[in-house]
């Protein structure tokens, strides 16, 4: 039993960390500048100084557009990067490390909530990504696709209009207005509740998890939080050493 597992495990490589930082910065900029347009009723009260802080409505609009395009590019970069890694075999699909939702995740969620409320004695064993982390990934993934596309239409409405079929023009604009702002509200409230709790406020992570900077997770923590992945990575080595 002399096997020495490292103290930390590399969870995310540099590329993914950079993609996450760009996403974080653009998300905050978009949320901050977009909020006053969603709720301008309060423009004379708090949104007044709020919109001035972003340089007034015109500058805020420009920040919003630049941040939006940057986020879309970041999104595309991520998609191409993942597709490339999968195609070249640098990244392999494995049920224990995948971000793709599987039936197990539903069972995990039920078991976890049962554990929370005391109905179950054991926590579920998670792979590399637990069901909340998968949600954390796919919620913005879907959000970026919807908000990004509708945002592009709203930023270039006369050009987008050329692409719309005639039968859609009586509802598509209203739908896009609603989609862009309501999806954004969902994304903002989700991130500020779930993501903030998981990565900042949670007992073990307070004041924040360092994984987004270092990309590493302490192996001790990995053992508890991602036991299936731990076994996959270190259990095999143990067997080889013997």
């Amino acid at each position: 039993m002399t096997n020495e597992s490292p103290l930390e495990y590399q969870r995310f490589n540099l590329t993914l960390r950079i993609q996450h930082v760009i996403l974080m910065v653009t998300f905050l900029l978009l949320a901050f500048t977009g909020w006053s347009l969603k709720y301008p009723e309060t423009a004379l009260e708090h949104a007044g100084w709020w919109i001035r802080m972003w340089g007034g409505p015109k500058t805020a609009g420009q920040i919003h557009r630049i941040a939006g395009v940057t986020m879309v590019l970041d999104f595309l970069w991520h998609c191409i990067y993942i597709a490339y890694a999968l195609l070249t075999g640098k990244m392999k699909f494995h049920p224990s490390t995948t971000i793709v939702p599987l039936p197990k995740d539903i069972m995990d969620a039920v078991q976890n909530i049962n554990y929370f409320i005391g109905l179950g004695k054991t926590k579920p064993k998670f792979g590399k990504f637990n069901y909340i982390q998968k949600f954390d990934y796919w919620a913005p993934f879907w959000g970026m696709a919807i908000i990004g596309l509708s945002g592009l239409v709203l930023a270039f409405p006369t050009k987008a209009a050329v692409l719309f079929p005639q039968w859609s023009v009586n509802w598509i604009w209203e739908l896009l207005f609603v989609l862009h702002s309501d999806e954004a509200l969902l994304a903002i409230t989700y991130v500020f509740i779930m993501h903030f709790y998981s990565e900042h406020l949670k007992w073990k992570n307070f004041p924040m998890s360092m994984t987004w900077i270092t990309g590493k997770i302490p192996v001790e923590e990995m053992k508890h939080e991602h036991p299936i992945e731990y076994e996959l990575e270190f259990g095999k080595n143990k067997g080889e050493d013997k």
């Binding site: 347009l37 609009g61 919620a139 719309f164 209203e174 739908l175 609603v178 509740i193 709790y197």
Partner: protein, 308 residues
């Protein structure tokens, strides 16, 4: 009172030397007088003229008698000015709406003939002058008191960019008028919810208000081909800001509330509200339960995390 005596004291000598009926002459009394007086036909008129506001207004350089050409039943001697047919004709057209002094009201036409002409051809003007209704705006309903009209660039002007929406809303949000003339009650509300309205509220000077698209004095009903927002002219009107606007683009703004007759956005919005609410309920409950379990495990159980 001090002001009154001072004004009288200052101007009294001048009146002796250069008696002429100009604004200053009238203001000697009317800047100091307060209260209202009943006119022959019934309505009360305000006696006081705020000299400072009047002199700052666009008409501050005018003499009172340029508009108040004749008056009867009052302590003044009536000025013997000629009243042109233009003015008296117009005064007749509006006398059912303007009770106090239609002649003075109609005097605007003397300098603003082109505006009066486009107003009389507009939906507002026709309602008053042809249908003889009292509803609908004449000059002062939008511009405020004739004595204090400010340039449109001034924030004090009721038709200033930042005030004109609520000025239009003064009538267009009125339920009884909406029923009588069958216009939508949600026009202002829908404008405020639109990107144009929201940007306007945030102080974006490039965002259009009512008059930028619908026109002002010559305003027509939207389906009148002469209206700038008619389907015939809408691409041109939107194209003033949105270069390359086409028919499919100009369908974006209607001011119509989204109802069941437009099911995709109507139920789409309902669906999004349900999705948002459901997600938030799940997320908040999950976080709350996790906090509860974390505290329980770390404070009360204080043991290794159980795994299978």
């Amino acid at each position: 009172m001090k002001g009154f005596f001072a004004t009288v004291f200052l101007w009294f000598p001048l009146l002796f030397f250069a008696y002429s009926v100009n604004a200053e002459t009238c203001l000697v009394c009317h800047s100091a007088m307060t209260g209202k007086v009943r006119t022959e036909k019934g309505p009360f008129i305000e006696l006081n003229i705020d000299e400072t506001r009047f002199s700052k207004s666009v008409h501050g350089g005018m003499d009172c008698t340029m508009c108040h050409k004749t008056y009867t039943n009052n302590p003044h001697g009536s000025p013997a000015g000629e009243v042109s047919k233009n003015i008296s004709g117009l005064a007749n057209l509006i006398s059912h709406k303007v009770k106090t002094d239609p002649l003075a009201y109609a005097s605007c036409v003397e300098c603003h003939e082109d505006i009066y002409k486009s107003l009389s051809e507009s939906i507002h003007g026709k309602n008053i002058m042809e249908k003889k209704e009292k509803d609908g705006p004449l000059c002062l309903d939008c511009h405020g008191s004739p004595h204090y009209i400010m340039p449109v660039s001034s924030e004090e002007s009721l038709v200033n960019k930042w005030k004109v929406v609520s000025t239009c809303g003064g009538c267009h949000e009125k339920k009884d008028l909406a029923e009588k003339y069958k216009f939508g009650l949600h026009i202002i509300e829908k404008y405020n919810e639109s990107f144009h309205g929201k940007k306007h509220k945030l102080g974006h000077s490039g965002a259009p208000t009512c008059v930028d698209c619908h026109g002002a004095h010559a305003i027509k009903k939207w389906d009148d081909p002469a209206s700038p927002v008619s389907w015939e002219k809408r691409t041109e009107t939107c194209g003033k800001c949105h270069k390359g606007a086409n028919k499919k683009f100009v369908a974006a703004i209607t001011h119509k509330p989204v109802g069941k007759d437009n099911p995709i956005p109507f139920y789409g919005e309902k669906g999004l509200i349900i999705l948002t609410a459901a997600t938030l309920i799940f997320v908040i409950m999950h976080v709350a339960l996790e906090i509860y379990a974390d505290i329980r495990d770390n404070v009360f159980r204080k043991k290794e995390e159980p795994h299978d």
